[in-house]
């Protein structure tokens, strides 16, 4: 693995990341909150259910990622889904059943399901 020896090397990683994000544009990105609390409330089950249901439904352009706390404790487990060309939408209070419904409706047909969590913050991006 290449060691970072200069700011130029860092910049290259930043470009790589931009390319990675750009390459996701045509894919469905499913970002599952997996902090201790999210896992305790069923985040991993939800992730597995989404993977399984996406397979069953023949949706194969899905990319999964894990992240930390999404800050919505009252609505855990939470998942942010970004459909190609659309703004990310956060869904909360998921379980095995509603996760499958999320795939059948939102991932497949772009049809919103219950428990959309409105974004209530401004994020500082460096």
């Amino acid at each position: 693995m290449a060691k970072i020896a200069s700011i130029a090397d860092l910049k290259k990683f930043q470009e790589d990341y931009k390319a990675k994000v750009a390459a996701r544009k045509d894919k469905i990105l499913v970002n599952v909150s997996l902090a201790t609390c999210s896992i305790a409330s069923g985040g991993k089950t939800v992730m597995e259910a989404i993977k399984d249901e996406a397979n069953k439904q023949g949706i194969n352009n899905v990319e999964f990622m894990q992240s930390g706390c999404m800050t919505y404790c009252y609505a855990e487990p939470t998942v942010v889904v970004t459909l190609p060309g659309k703004a990310p939408v956060c869904f909360g209070k998921l379980d095995e059943k509603s996760a499958r419904e999320l795939v059948q409706k939102y991932l497949k047909a772009g049809e919103l399901v219950d428990n959309v969590i409105p974004e209530n913050y401004v994020r500082v991006e460096l």
Partner: protein
């Protein structure tokens, strides 16, 4: 649905957005750029100036200016200095540090290296609770990855600057969040505080200059370095800059982690962000600063939240726990709850804290059992003030805060407990009577059947009566009654 965006996320900027176990994701959001700039193009004095100019103050609770602290350590000439990250998050209901470490561990690793460069330290230590296994796992991976990519370890980015980080695990003692006790614990001794001065910045870990900063303080540093001190100091109030992360918990609809600009009002936090209390109950008070803090009440709704305003209200910023209480919470009972916690967690080294906490608890206990007298008020106050003035460390000095602050703001509740032998919120069972309102009772007998001690009597279709001498005040009848005919008095 459009909602007001009252939150501003700086310390938690990456939580929920990047994969915490992938260093390349962190590079992608300009991670380690601040460190690279500092060590290849900056000077230690330049970094300290920038941090000073930003106006950031310690996010662990005390609120000491971070840049000034770093300046003290930098001024010491010695062979070894240390950077310590305090991740011994112990306040009941607080989880800000865990969220940052589990969601964005690299921001803390990077900031510790920046601090090391600024003060001339080559070793960093994270003191983290062993109860946070996932945070530990992600932090360990972050440190290993950072070493593998050459942004941590020997000769970082060819600059000649060495910095590495190790972990020390806390065993769950609340007092070890106090910096001198933390240092003792890291050295392998009992986690007991010692008298300052000397301050750790001059003589700390192994008697070497040591900077102890909280996780959240560190998480802000890369953002300050990349976006500049002027940007950071434009956020917040005159003396409290930037944002604060709070863990909003208790009787609140939207339990969650929030990050808000300093100076936001309590009303905005509770109602606009928190969505008010569940079940349409009245908001009564919020405990900030955990067991060391105090209560802000509905009367303080318009107070801008910052370090100095909270101190003026007999509370403190603390590390960011916010426990919301509604009309069903008894404030004497709440004070007793926190005293019970500190009484357990006092390390026992100094008398005011060890014995004082026990005595405070006993008096509060007397009051909640209906045996208090008005002389107890004076006793409580004198004792509380004495403990504040004489205790050795932060734990003892702040431990009476919940008592003083609730006595100030809810004096009427204390008086009701002592003079009228009543608990207005209906919490203290010895001061309660559960009664059946004869005008509402239809005589359905449901309450009599559910009563575990069979103290409710009455004929079918006639008003029932509770035998007060036998009633254990469990409240089972209140829950069962379909006619709201049973009330606490």
């Amino acid at each position: 649905m459009e909602v007001a965006k009252k939150q501003l996320r700086i310390a938690t900027r990456n939580c929920g957005f990047i994969d915490p176990e992938n260093i390349e994701d962190y590079f992608g959001v300009r991670g380690y750029e601040a460190l690279a700039n500092a060590i290849t193009a900056g000077t230690p004095a330049g970094v300290i100036d920038e941090v000073k100019k930003s106006g950031i103050r310690g996010r662990g609770g005390g609120g000491f200016p971070t840049g000034t602290k770093w300046g003290f350590a930098a001024a010491n000439q010695t062979d070894q200095k240390y950077v310590v990250c305090n991740a011994d998050e112990g306040d009941p209901g607080a989880f800000m540090d865990r969220a940052v470490l589990e969601g964005d561990p690299h921001s803390v690793v990077e900031a510790m290296a920046i601090c090391g460069y600024a003060i001339g330290a080559s070793i960093g230590v994270v003191y983290i609770r062993a109860e946070y296994p996932l945070a530990i796992k992600r932090l360990v991976k972050a440190i290993e990855d950072a070493r593998a990519y050459g942004v941590l370890g020997k000769n970082i980015m060819g600059s000649g600057f060495d910095f590495d980080i190790e972990l020390k695990y806390g065993a769950g003692a609340f007092v070890c969040g106090e910096e001198t006790a933390l240092i003792r614990s890291m050295e392998g001794s009992r986690g007991e505080p010692y008298t300052k001065p000397p301050f750790p910045a001059n003589s700390g870990y192994w008697s070497k200059p040591t900077i102890v900063n909280n996780v959240e303080t560190f998480a802000n540093i890369p953002a300050i370095m990349v976006k500049g001190a002027d940007w950071f100091s434009s956020i917040g109030t005159e003396k409290s800059k930037g944002t604060k992360v709070f863990a909003l918990a208790g009787k609140i609809n939207n339990t969650g982690l929030i990050e808000v600009p300093m100076g936001i009002t309590l009303k905005e936090v509770i109602f606009d962000i928190g969505g008010g209390c569940p079940g349409g109950k009245e908001f009564k008070a919020v405990q900030t600063g955990g067991p060391s803090g105090g209560a802000l009440t509905y009367k303080d709704s318009d107070v801008p939240i910052d370090y100095d305003n909270l101190l003026a209200k007999n509370s403190m910023m603390g590390s960011g726990g916010m426990i919301v209480m509604d009309e069903d919470n008894c404030m004497v009972d709440i004070a007793k709850f926190f005293l019970d916690f500190t009484m357990d967690e006092t390390c026992g080294k100094c008398t005011p804290c060890r014995i004082g906490s026990k005595r405070l608890y006993e008096i509060l206990s007397k009051i909640t059992h209906g045996q208090g007298t008005e002389a107890d008020f004076e006793k409580l106050k004198t004792l509380a003030v004495n403990i504040k003035d004489t205790a050795l460390c932060g734990l003892g000095q702040t431990m009476p805060n919940p008592v003083l602050s609730t006595m100030n703001t809810f004096a009427d509740e204390y008086i009701a407990h002592v003079r009228d032998k009543k608990c207005p919120a209906g919490v203290c069972v010895d001061l309660l009577e559960i009664v059946i309102l004869p005008e509402k009772c239809v005589g359905c007998t449901l309450c009599a059947r559910v009563c575990p001690v069979n103290c409710i009597s009455g004929k079918v279709k006639e008003a029932h009566v509770i035998d007060q001498a036998a009633c254990i005040k469990c409240g089972a009848c209140i829950e069962k009654c379909k006619f709201d005919a049973i009330v606490k008095k």
